[in-house]
Amino acid sequence: MNDMTPTREQREANLEGMGCKRKRVEDVRFTQGKGQYVDDIKLPGMVYGDFVRSPYAHAKVTKIDATEALKLPGVIAVLTAEDLKGVNLAWMPTLAGDVQMVLADGKVLYQNQEVAFVVAEDRYIADDAIQLVEVEYEELPVLVDPFQSMAPDAPVLRPDLEGKTEGAHGPRKHHNHIFNWAVGDKDETAKAFSDADVTIKEMISYHRTHPSPLETCQCVASMDKVKGELTVYGTFQAPHVIRTVASLLSTIPEHKIHVIAPDIGGGFGNKVGAYPGYICAIVASIVTGVPVKWVEDRMENLSTTSFARDYHMTTEIAAKNDGTVTGLKVHVLADHGGFDACADPSKWPAGFFNIVTGSYDFPAAHLEVDGVYTNKAPGGVAYRCSFRVTEAAYCIERAMDILAQKLEMDPADLRMKNFVKPEQFPYQSALGWEYDSGDYHTAMQKAMDTIGYRELRAEQKAKQEAFKRGETREIMGIGVSFFTEIVGAGPSKNCDILGVAMFDSAEIRVHPTGSVISRMGTKSQGQGHETTWAQIIATEIGIPAADIMVEEGNTDTAPYGLGTYGSRSTPVAGAAIALAARKIRNKAQMIAAHMLEVSEYDLEWDVDGFQVKGNPEARKSMKEIAWAAYHAPPPNMEPGLEAVSYYDPPNMTYPFGAYFCVMDIDVDTGVANTRRFYALDDCGTRINPMIIEGQVHGGLTEAFAIAMGQEIAYDEMGNVMGASFMDFFIPTAVETPHWETDYTVTPSPHHPIGAKGVGESPNVGGVPAFSNAVNDAFQFLGNTHIQMPHDAWRIWKAAKDLGAHG
């Protein structure tokens, strides 16, 4: 070899493949304001739709009069439920097996519910016209407290379900009851409790919040009546599913519907579902024959499209005196609002909440979830978490702290004692999951050592003494959280959405000159797929990531996939990408063998090409092979070099992590200051460490927001409180703590590249770390449990109730 021949290391570095801190390629356009979002789409003749919304949380709609609105110049149409009935779209099915009104059909069930859809030549006229639509309401008694939903005299929220004793998930026991879901062994668990040395019980609430992406939900629908084709640009985390649903609802054949998700400004679960805005824009375009744009404003987004959480979890643990846990019992009251529009795989009415045994070896467990209706907005989406996993993690992590307190054990030690052991993997949990891999002890020990856990406890003790002596008004909390997630939905044996199995897909085409276009069924909303997908391909087929273009979101060109949410992209599509790439590599090997005139078995892979075993000088690079694939393929072989893979995962993946939060609290104001936050994540194989770090920073910031104040609250009249960024807590750089990140690597044994997914771990593990820090701070004053969110006034109130104000 001459001096100009790149070394193996140089060739490897040149690929920017897996493990490389490759800069995000999409940021070139995002940071220059050149992203193409839905609201950037302007079609000739496009008009605008906007909603008349209900000021009441529960009322009959007795009259809608659009006469004055229609007189306003520039107003084209005002749609009501009556109009939608003509096309059988006044109601739509939800992902959870319920039905939901598209426009108010005789009544409204929550404040800001969609009542009429005004279509006008511009946004200003549409908004003026909204004020001119006269709606008469007859107020009904309002139900906001889920604990009152099943009271005998509770108002009937859903007369459409009258007499229906069977719901989508089994029997309904009350007119406001949606489902009961039970998992685990009830008798075994009861026995564990009767045999226990120690038990704890606490009602742990996870309040209602909202994913609140920066870009709200929006779409442009365009019906070409001549071709009979519908094009919908929209903020869709799952564009292919949206196309299938649109076809089923509209009866337009699926191949004549083009769903395109352009750049998306954050999703976090908010953009999984189908909303009345999409349906109304589509119907309006079909009616008017011109493109119709619908764009939510911030208040509409926060108050109507998809809340998250609202789980009220009565949690009991049975244990031995030495701290060994023996049983877990959880009952969840799930507030679903006016319609059950939870975005879960169809068979899972409470998502994967049965991951609630967490990282601990519970021999027995039993879980029951009751879903109920209230006069609140529908949703129940997985806000930066796999389905209901963050609720589960919060539930068990808070409860483990409460148990540690009762046992007078250190909470970190209690966790160590009960972790599933490395040799127990694959581990069968009492509530039905098979954990793929984990090494919890190593992760926890590394975290404790790095943060100086024992020293922090000593410092805390000294501060408590000083507080008791009246020398300081500041107290200190240490939040411990060890979470296990379940992501990568999912295996077709237990996961589908409206009957479509939750596989995902990738298509890779290598061009003659050795560059690549690849398309996936997923859809990035900021996760950086264009960067990381190319890295997987680069490593697998030895073509530099810079020569690989990744495209998602266009249902005409991309293979069918279930989309991006629940940390499923890397576990599912990431596997499809690796397998498609391997098909290409296999074919490339045969081509190389032909070129080198050897048997393919005499070849070995070397970074970016094949070489003859024992004779590295005889090699063909992927670039040369690509050219040969189109120029002179081996006889009897199809020309070309491309592959498609559809991947049905054999199991979920189970990322985990150890998080610690150190907090100082001013008891006089309730202001909490996060002094340190340390996050150790194990997401298996790490594709791009820089993107992982960015994902962890973002997820932790959301966790901080949720735990420390972010809330969608209602008053007793069902008025939604603070649905704007004035009140809804989005931390700025000033409030956001400094994040220390760390990792261990325990690859997934069943995933082609061993990757588990990371985007949601920090939200799942972060919330309990913050909440446990607040609760821990007040423990020495007699606290067991303070409900979230922990905004300043609530912390102050807790301090006051515990007598800290003298």
């Binding site: 003026d128 104001t669 202001v671 807590f729 905004d791 006034w793 109130k797």
Partner: protein, 288 residues
């Protein structure tokens, strides 16, 4: 989040602006930085048919040193208040308070005149102006008049300002050299209005407080001049019993709303804490 229709005016003198206000009465509203008015218009909580933009009136700009009194033009931005050497030297509490208003982007646009004329109890400048015993110069069809900040506020968004009047300047008596000052503001995050805030100006003579002025922000439907609390502190050595009494007196005049910042009880207590902390910091800073 889309405002209704309006006509835009851009007068170049106070007289011209007043004439437009007179001819449209209630239908017209002055526009300064727009950072209170435009959000309200987008929410359609305000729907003026005529917007009278004051940005073209040179006379409304600038800070002038009148010796015992400093006069600040209504269109002076909050950012300009922060950057003024004169204010930093003579009235440093204005800089301290301005830095706690909203965020830099808003402070580049928002004006002192708009902040005090707005009548939103959440604004920080009105309480501060009460603490400083400032007065507002109002220009109307019948000429100018002055109204003390302590007399100006009637209820949320109701002030002594008539629909056809403009606020042209704020006049502030300069506190004695060596005075102590502090603006303590508790807020949920950057860009938030106060959960409670307190402004304190005091002068010390030996260990004794020779004068003290305390005002509160966002704990009633108007800013509050805490005259009893101010009187209790004046003449004291800031011993803890006296401070406790003053804090109690300040808390007693609050009537906060319960909102996302917390229930009324909390906000009253926070007003007290802010007063306590502002007194301590002001005393630390005072010479004499």
């Amino acid at each position: 989040m889309i405002p209704g229709e309006f006509t835009y005016h851009r007068p170049s003198s106070v007289a011209e602006a007043v004439a437009i206000l007179v001819s449209h009465g209630d239908e017209a509203r002055p526009l300064s930085g727009g950072h209170s008015l435009i959000p309200m218009m987008k929410l359609r909580m305000a729907a003026p048919e005529h917007l009278v933009d004051l940005a073209g009136i040179a006379d409304l700009k600038g800070i002038s040193d009148g010796g015992a009194t400093i006069s600040i033009g209504a269109m002076t931005t909050q950012n300009e208040l922060i950057g003024s050497d004169l204010l930093t030297q003579k009235l440093p509490i204005i800089r301290e308070t301005s830095l706690l208003i909203a965020d830099p982007q808003i402070r580049y646009m928002g004006t002192l005149g708009g902040n005090v004329a707005n009548g939103d109890p959440g604004n920080d400048m009105p309480g501060l102006m009460q603490c400083l015993n400032a007065s507002y110069v109002l220009a109307g069809p019948d000429g100018e008049r002055e109204v003390a900040a302590r007399e100006f506020y009637e209820a949320a968004y109701f002030t002594a300002l008539a629909p056809e009047e403009l606020l042209t300047a704020v006049k502030i008596p300069v506190p004695a050299a060596g005075h102590g000052y502090a603006y303590e503001k508790l807020k949920r995050k950057v860009g938030d209005y106060a959960t409670a805030a307190a402004a304190v100006i005091l002068t010390m003579d030996g260990g004794t407080v020779s004068s003290c002025s305390i005002a509160l922000t966002n704990v009633a439907d108007t800013p509050l001049f805490a005259s009893d609390a101010s009187d209790i502190i004046t003449g004291s050595t800031l011993d803890s019993a006296t401070v406790d009494r003053a804090v109690a007196a300040a808390e007693a005049i609050t009537e906060p709303a319960s909102d996302g910042r917390g229930p009324a009880e909390y906000r009253t207590k926070m007003a007290g804490i802010m007063v306590r902390r502002a007194l301590a910091r002001a005393a630390e800073r005072a010479n004499g």
